[in-house]
């Protein structure tokens, strides 16, 4: 049996010989971080193109159109006199919404007879549709408030008081941790961590498959679980070190590059990252041990990104998933890790606030180790019964 140090050196040789592993763990994380991360560098969606169909041609309809155009999120791409013309741009995805100002709009509004405007939204994409809706509603509320104010002023109420009477309760909505509700600050931190997770799974998995098919683990006969653990710990050490270093580089360089919020002690973040990487490594060994070829591993794991991310509860709450999937979510390390990371880094939580997430990760570490032991024992049993060569 090789020593721990020899296995570690063999792993380094394998990485530098196997271009696929080398590219996946040394090039891909940084490439993806800049290439994919930069998609969200602008963070917000501004100037979403919409069209206005103005059947009224009044000063108020033009004013409303102009107010909508002046909002940050929306930009008028066309001012039309009939809906058919606007629909051409809508069907061609050149505008994402249409505001229809009907004939008599000004007259009905100013006479307080109740005017209606139609807002047609392309709801195949929620982000743009929501922003248009919000912007148009804001403008309409403002104009409506102005109309009510005008009524109060006409009833001899001083202008300052009329302004307050027009809107008796002022909504003050404060978005904490992401003041503008922007997509970049929400998704990018976790996307960067996901890049590290996925490249680690693929690169390390390839090495594990290699070890089981062609290396020391090819024949488990005569290997105790302790030796098995020793071999895998030596193989894992390089990845543990490399990915801990990646976490440090991401937090210290890439997060600031994208002006992402990062709170909490870097030491504690690295400790958490270390625990997360360890659990990922154990799970990877467990699953990769069932694969026969490293290419096959990459081929299949390429499909794991979306299933792992979407079930983690970051984009869709775990409690809104069916019970079975809640179980799945809770045995995956990304679920507690994303949660704890978000609490620490974005919400400025302290250690006592994230204890349950930390314990969750520790439980998964033990679970992964137990599962690995069972996998090892099962393989040995099968070998001893002659079912597996």
């Amino acid at each position: 049996m090789k020593s721990w140090w020899d296995i570690f050196k063999s792993e380094l040789s394998l990485i530098f010989e196997d271009k696929s592993i080398l590219l996946t763990c040394l090039v891909a994380p940084l490439l993806y971080a800049f290439f994919v991360g930069s998609i969200y560098s602008e963070k917000e969606v501004n100037e979403i193109p919409i069209a206005v169909v103005d059947y009224d041609h009044s000063s108020l309809s033009r004013k409303v159109a102009s107010l909508i155009n002046s909002t940050e999120k929306v930009k008028l791409k066309g001012h039309f006199s009939n809906l058919e013309d606007a629909l051409f741009y809508f069907n061609n995805l050149e505008v994402q919404g249409i505001v229809v100002l009907p004939k008599g709009f000004q007259k009905k509004t100013m006479n307080l007879e109740g005017a209606k405007i139609d807002l047609i939204l392309n709801n195949t994409k929620f982000l743009t549709s929501n922003e248009i809706n919000k912007s148009v509603q804001k403008v309409v509320l403002m104009v409506s408030g102005g109309v009510r104010m005008r009524y109060f002023v006409s009833n001899k109420i001083p202008i300052d008081m009329a302004k307050e009477k027009a809107q008796p309760i002022l909504p003050v909505i404060k978005s904490i941790y992401n003041a503008t509700n922007n997509y970049g600050d929400y998704l990018l931190p976790i996307l960067l961590i996901l890049i590290l997770q996925q490249t680690l799974i693929i690169a390390f998995g390839q090495s594990v498959v290699h070890e089981f098919q062609h290396g020391i683990l090819k024949d488990l006969n005569g290997i105790s679980f302790l030796e098995f653990t020793k071999i895998l710990s030596a193989k894992s050490a390089y990845y543990l070190f490399l990915y801990s270093a990646y976490f440090f580089v991401f937090y210290k360089l890439i997060f600031p590059h994208y002006t992402l919020v990062f709170n909490g002690s870097i030491g504690f973040h690295l400790l958490l990252g270390f625990l997360f990487i360890t659990v990922i490594l154990l799970y990877t060994i467990l699953v990769a041990s069932y694969f026969r070829t490293a290419i096959g591993w990459t081929e299949i794991m390429a499909f794991s990104t979306y299933p792992l991310f979407l079930v983690s509860g970051y984009s869709w709450p775990v409690e809104s998933m069916p019970e079975l999937l809640q179980w799945v979510a809770n045995i995956l390390p990304s679920t507690p890790y994303f949660n704890v990371f978000n609490s620490l880094s974005v919400e400025k939580a302290h250690l006592p606030d994230i204890t349950s997430g930390f314990i969750h990760l520790l439980i998964l570490l033990v679970l992964a180790y137990v599962l690995l032991y069972l996998r090892f024992s099962l393989s040995k049993n099968l070998i001893s019964k002659g079912q597996v060569s």
Binding site: D18, S20, L23, L31, V36, S38, I39, S41, E42, V45, N91, N92, L93, L112, A115, I117, D118, L119, L121, N122, N123, T124, L127, N130, N133, Q137, V140, L141, S144, V147, R148, K165, Q167, P168, I169, L170, P171, V172, I173, K174, Y177, N178, A179, Y186, F291, A294, I295, G296, T298, E299, A302, F303, Y306, P307, L310, Y314, W316, M321, E347, D353
Partner: protein, 386 residues
């Protein structure tokens, strides 16, 4: 023709011997697609847990709290008190996603006919909740405001109907087309299944040529094609296109209907577009396989190219909001063009003329894939003959 068919049969037999190909062709469509759909089974977030901090303790503030409780989407689970540090509310109470603050003298200010503020804090580290609470809060407070105005107008002797028009002089009639209930399953699943279809076909095809070199069987297969690289490419292309198209049919005929994605009358007419999309990806996969003789490298390249296709496509974050380079790169992925065609053709039922430019883009991808593959194999073949 016989040689052509023999290559196809041979290719299928090779795939049959490869367990991961079985997983790609059978397990991903039957397990992963349904798994993804199952995540979004609820379709929408039905209730959000929130807190309330009542600093006024007045009759009106209690009425406001009752009104919040009556809001179907909001569920009050925590009553905060003045000792709670507002900056730490979300950290100490992770179960709540937002909280309302009714300030001191709220009732008095309103009864004096002055403007009062109602504060709403949202935990927008998750924008799904942030947006939902924002929408609910804005609508709730405006309704509350409107109620106060209505009572004031009525007390002035203004008839009810007139008062109603005065509190909302302009009404917005919002028509969210193509997904009226903001259902996340309907929104995300078609995108996810079709992007995985691209990946599946591409990755399968990415081992079609280089594996012949790895197994030293290139001469054998070229012999079956009577030495014609064009016939060889066409046979391989046909195999992966047919497999991919069957998976595509499975998505539209089984996965989407079983998961309750609303059926579109245009689906049948759209199938030729699905066929073209699959053929393009099969061709590009074959091209990568021809360029990189090392199967593992070809697989890595395919992975790097395909895995960000979804985020580049503009499905969740619009291309127009991306920096110029990313927006340009998005155009180099066939999925971006297919997605536009899909949204127009299937979801919006737009006439065929609106799909043409996307189909031309897909055809261009195919032409590039075909020409590059043919040149590489032709040159390699010539070099070997020399």
């Amino acid at each position: 023709m016989r040689g052509f068919l023999n290559i196809i049969i041979r290719e299928v037999l090779i795939l049959k011997k490869r367990p991961t190909a079985w997983i790609l062709i059978f397990l991903i469509p039957t397990a992963i697609f349904f798994y993804l759909g199952y995540i979004y089974k609820e379709g929408a977030i039905n209730t959000v847990d929130i807190g309330v901090l009542d600093l006024d303790h007045s009759g009106l503030s209690r009425t406001v709290i009752k009104s919040i409780e009556a809001t179907p989407k909001l569920n009050i689970v925590k009553f905060l008190n003045s000792n709670d540090n507002i900056d730490e509310v979300f950290v100490k109470n992770p179960e709540i996603r937002g909280f309302y603050v009714i300030p001191n003298h709220f009732e008095k200010v309103i009864y004096r006919g002055e403007q009062a503020k109602l504060l709403v804090y949202t935990n927008s580290s998750n924008i799904v909740y942030g947006n939902l609470i924002y929408k609910e809060a804005a609508s709730f407070i405006n309704t509350l405001s409107a109620g106060i105005n209505y009572n004031a107008f009525r007390s002035q002797g203004i008839p009810s109907e007139k008062a109603l028009k005065m509190i909302a002089p302009i009404k917005v009639n919002t028509k969210p087309l193509f997904n009226a209930y903001y259902n996340y399953l309907y929104y995300l699943l078609p995108g996810l299944t079709t992007v995985l279809l691209q990946m599946l076909v591409f990755l399968l095809a990415a081992r079609s040529i280089n594996s012949e070199y790895s197994n030293a069987s290139f001469d054998e297969v070229l012999g079956m094609a009577n030495g014609s690289v064009f016939k060889l490419i066409f046979a391989k292309l046909t195999t992966y296109t047919v497999i991919g198209f069957i998976v595509g049919l499975f998505i539209f005929a089984v996965v989407h209907p079983l998961l309750g994605i609303p059926a579109s009358s245009g689906t049948l007419a759209f199938l030729p577009v699905v066929f073209l999309f699959v053929m393009v990806n099969a061709m590009l996969g074959i091209m990568v396989s021809a360029i990189f003789k090392n199967e593992a490298i070809a697989m890595d390249v395919s992975f790097v190219y395909n895995s960000p296709a979804f985020v580049f496509s503009g499905f969740t974050f619009p291309i127009m909001a991306m920096p110029a380079f990313n927006a340009w790169y998005a155009q180099l992925i066939p999925y971006t063009h297919f997605l536009s065609a899909f949204i127009k053709g299937i979801e919006m039922h737009a006439p065929f003329q609106f799909l043409v430019k996307h189909l031309l883009s897909l055809a261009l991808f195919f032409a590039i894939g075909y020409v590059v593959t043919a040149i590489i194999l032709f040159l390699r073949n010539q070099k070997r003959s020399v």
